[in-house]
Amino acid sequence: MQIPPPIFAAAGKERLAVVKNISVLLIGTPNSGKSTLFYALTRKKAETGNRAGVTVSENSARIGSKRLGRGDISVTLFDLPGIYSLTPHTKDEQLTLKKLYEYPADVILNVIDSTSLEAGLHLTLSLRERFPDTPLVIALNMIDELEKLGLYIDEAELEARLGAYASAISASGGKGLAELVEKILGADVARETPKKCCLSEDVAKKDASEIARSVMRKKTGERITKGDYRSMMLSGSKITDRADRLLLSPIFGIPVFVLIVASLFYISFGKVGSFISDAVDLAVTAPIRGLAERSLSGLSAAPWLSSLINGGIMTGICAVLDFLPGILLLSLGLCLLEDSGYLSRVAFLFDAPMRRVGISGKALIPVLLGFGCTVSSVLASRNLTDSRERKICSALLPLISCSARSPLYLAFCATLLPDFSWVLCLLLYSLGICAFLLGVCLLSYLSQGIGKQKAVPELIIELPKYRIPRASVVCLKMKEQTAHFLRRAGTVIFLSSAVTWLTSSFSFGFSFAETSGDSMLLRFSSYVSPLFAPLGFNDPRLVAALISGISAKESALSALCILFGTASVSLSSLISENVLTMHSALSFLVFFSLYLPCFPAMTAIYEESKKLSSLLLSCLSCLTFAYICSFLTYRFSLCFFG
């Protein structure tokens, strides 16, 4: 299902007159559909998902005067993280409130989830009280779901009671958007004479009791809703109730979670993933490689140029492209879990065990998002309420294996455990989680000192209704993921492949290296490689691949292919060349799964704290864990399987 394009009015002739710009702040409770509305109105990419706290930073876009059909007006829309009240508790909420208080907005667009009116009205009343002179437009979102329950909202009654403008919409279905835009424009015109709120006297009372506020919310909800309002507010959805009985069950909850994750890995990295990868190799990468080779020989290109393009860039990019289906399948699984509403349940389910290691269950959401990309997981840690918890989490999140590491895992695991490579992949991802939890334990202990361990913040998390993930949203996310991966292949991996080829082909004197050992990269790697001897791998080419992986994790596999001069590197060939043994290969994989974060992740970690010490702590923790775990793996493997 495609979201219809937002056509607000018939396009009018653009005048040359000065265009007035109306700034609109999107404010609402988490998971009320602000980003979906933002996307529906502006068509600008916005992260959406069925859980609280998907949006963690500000996003803005302009709706031009031509698109509005009003030659003299344009609208700038600001999408902001959700807030429950005007008191911030998390870093992302602070960002919204800073904008709300410091930015002179023309209109506040308050998005309310119609199916939970009272929760939404709590914030609306606070907004009315704190910003009485700023026009307030209420977007009653998810009106289609309310109508399915047989309920209707009297918008005129709500407008009269709150002195605001109200419009019932369905952001995902594109319903009521034109009317909403008209109300926003109308609200700005009437700015000089703001509507009077008939509740304003009650609201303005600073000492208004909580009970009075709750009753006010309830009465307003009852007055504006036609239908069995009370039953909607207090009865849960039957499907959600039944699903929660199983998924949040103390007995079945955790096994079901393990089963879901194992299935996800089986599909992504097992038979299905490898079948699609083989098909991509046959249909896309092999023909591209062949075409490049034929074109270069047809053009009689210089040998160094052929070597750079075929042996460097094409080998590097194609080695990673083959594994794109597996990465996309994993992203698809995570997207389905997020859009169905299950991810928040995982946080609640694991709160008690996580609390024992000094962190709340909420921290598991960034951990699971880290399976996709470390940068987005570091940003997601903004949702954590406690600053100590947030700092520790963002420093240790690079320990979680991101999808960019999976190409190298798969290239090696197929030999280590044929037919069950997905199990080994799952174990490597689990190792990341174990290292993360151990790191949290250690850092909590070190930061607080003996006997002074600070209490873990109590968990209060909103559990959204289960929804069937919308095909349009899932397709859009997959399209973005593919585009993101291809962009990386065309930029970071392209550059890193070229740099790997150049540094492995030229010596320090900038002359063509006669043997690969004389090249810059391998000479430098050979200085460092003795450090890795206790881990079982000290071939400079392996160390060079690890260094290359710091620019982007996929680049490690690209570098291996370039340095070994093959189109696709396999562990069996490395074993036959005496570069690795089964034991050292396992040790190499463990080191690769935990060592330094990539450059974009390092930037994200620094940006979150603005402290170099946090970044150093993160790098040091990852390196220490990688070295110790790799050493132990190698020794245990020699002892038990040697």
């Binding site: 929760a119 709590h122 309830k218 909607m232 103390p250 109590e458 559990l463």
Partner: protein, 73 residues
């Protein structure tokens, strides 16, 4: 017994109530405050699931003793 204030921890699945008092400011900011109606959906050893104001919340056990409820029929 109906009308007698109890802690949230004493509620049973399917029971309804009205919040009598809430001592935790963080919860009040979420709209979980005196006067709000509550439906206990699932009670676990480590926490519980409640519908408050149309929204479903998962709350960890220690917070239970900060919310006093008056049961209703």
């Amino acid at each position: 017994m109906l009308g007698t204030p109890v802690f949230l921890s004493e509620m049973k699945e399917g029971e309804r109530g009205i919040i009598e008092s809430c001592k935790e400011p963080d919860l009040r900011d979420l709209g979980i405050m005196a006067g709000a109606e509550v439906l206990a959906v699932g009670i676990r050893k480590s926490g519980g699931v409640f519908i408050i104001g149309g929204r479903r919340f998962g709350i960890s056990r220690p917070l239970f003793r900060k919310i006093l409820i008056k049961r209703i029929g």
